[in-house]
Subunit: 332 residues, 2 copies
């Protein structure tokens, strides 16, 4: 039994939905997102409630696109970065869908896709949603400083994406199948700098991608696109270099969601985007639309997460990383 799991019944991603904030809509992928809310509180009175509202809207939209109602959904897998994952529990409570809460930091979207695809593939559920979110303001004050403080950012820091992405999986209904998943292992090479999460997460991404290609016995040219979650510019560089050294040269077909979502230079986001909503919105908004248009047919999506907390960092611990891989392939 390899670490990479084959989904023999090829569960399908029927459709996706993405909701973002204004900064994200001003980025390189702005035209791809389904909905942009320029007011950062999303009509609520706190940033945390705004994050819940984004998830609620993303789920409503993907249900609408699939012509389904919440009672048609057997299971929903969701998570976010907030303490006790309140973005998700308050966002999803009104739907009354059987719910599994996840915490995988920024890897959570692919964790959700892994678990959702097994649930559909095994016949335990017909329709399943995976959803995640993050919000710059709720994250910044929880993980770093009060926003009013206006703290300086280090060159290796990343900007938490304000976005939510949702994917609806079913046993049929589209040609876009999840064919294989590679669950992540925790990798910790001793990085302790909370402002350099790219370097902390890169080893996990390298490990998962290497295992995936080895387990499937495929070559580097197999996928049209390999996308890591949000390693950002530095983490992407590290991962790219190490993967090439080990024989996996993707020749320009390897991107990182954290680098794609913003115009890094113009938008002053240092190493790029991060957060549970980054990979979720880039996949749901951009990559899935490229699949729909036929511009991509085989994609490996590898969301990466940094599993520290402010408390563990204050206590001098290093940052464990994780990366979950999901292969999405067009099957006609």
């Amino acid at each position: 039994m390899t670490r990479t799991i084959k989904l023999k019944n090829t569960p399908r991603i029927v459709n996706t939905a993405s909701v973002t904030g204004k900064k994200e809509s001003d980025g390189k992928l702005g035209e791809y997102f389904d909905s942009v809310v320029s007011e950062e509180r999303f009509g609520t009175d706190t940033w945390e409630k705004a994050e819940s509202e984004m998830q609620k809207q993303a789920v409503a939209m993907v249900l609408d696109k699939c012509n389904l109602k919440s009672e048609d959904i057997n299971l929903i897998y969701g998570g976010d970065l907030l303490n006790q994952c309140i973005g998700t529990s308050y966002g999803l409570s009104k739907y009354e869908i059987p719910f599994f809460g996840l915490y995988g930091a920024c890897s959570t979207f692919c964790e959700g896709l892994c678990l959702a695809s097994m649930a559909v593939d095994g016949g335990y559920a017909k329709n399943v949603i995976a959803v995640t979110s993050s919000h710059f303001c709720s994250s910044e004050r929880q993980f770093r400083f009060p926003l009013e403080y206006g703290g300086q950012r280090t060159p290796t820091s990343q900007w938490t994406v304000t976005a939510s992405g949702a994917a609806l999986l079913s046993d049929s209904g589209s040609p876009f199948a999840i064919t294989y998943i590679t669950p992540g292992k925790i990798a910790d090479l001793g990085i302790k700098d909370m402002n350099n999460m790219g370097a902390a997460m890169a080893p996990a991404a390298i490990d998962t991608i290497s295992a995936h290609f080895k387990d499937r016995k495929i070559e580097a040219d197999y996928y049209d696109l390999v996308a890591t979650g949000d390693l950002g510019k530095l983490g992407h560089e590290i991962a790219k270099e190490q993967l090439e050294k080990s024989g996996l040269d993707f020749k320009g077909r390897y991107i990182d969601c954290g680098m794609e979502i913003y115009d890094i230079e113009k938008q002053d986001v240092h190493c790029g985007g991060s957060g549970c909503g980054c990979c979720a919105s880039v996949f749901s908004g951009y990559i899935f639309k490229k699949l729909l248009k036929g511009e991509l047919n085989k994609v490996l999506l590898v969301a990466t997460g940094a599993l520290m907390s402010p408390t563990s960092s204050y206590q001098g611990e290093s940052i464990p990383g994780i990366a979950h891989g999901v292969a999405i392939e067009r099957i006609d």
Copy 2:
């Protein structure tokens, strides 16, 4: 398709392990726990690291009992109550087992059993572990007050259990099968008192238990034991009364893990125990040993979780509850 999922290949719980603190070993179930560490830092220098150490020990112990090594385990599902679930990620990192992080508050142990049982049942994994933990000291300072403050506790408050429990599932190896799971829906009836989590979680427990009996078309006398996670004394009373009104009278066969673990009066724990480690250790330590001895043959375990955070409570939100149900039955 009903909400309750039948596991047609009846994945087995091969064995379990439990590690607790001193207060838990002084409680009603002390003799059942595998390992008791009387020093609350478990040989580490912080309570958070102590919690990780408990999880590490619980996993080591269940591997040992099953004569397996970490490389024999295909997946591990784990979680805890700490912000960003650091109890789990630091506790499990050395094992290098593919890892799915969960957050379901005190319901996490049953959430893990639900997901682990589907992974084994569907043939996606051979050996899987579900593990959770909680620690009184790390929880108290995160959710309530600094311990040094010595805050007064309200009559409806519960005491976070210092414990970890782990269960190892496989496709064979014991007669104790997970036969059905009932994933929880978020239920929120408007309780806002963070010190009355029993009342906040009871509606979710009632909902899950009712759905389970209805979906399986079984009567109240089917199980030898129905155990909720940690509703505590008040929540148990509410759930018992409401379930009886709806026709589910378990006639003394309904217990709550939070009430069982301590001697509520003598140990001054108000409504009883709570925390991800409560249901995990009571199941792994007590209930599973009763199954092993043949004193129980059919058990419905329903761990309950309160999905708020201090932030959501400060913002005036009510407390959403969830409860995941797992049926464990002896199949010879």
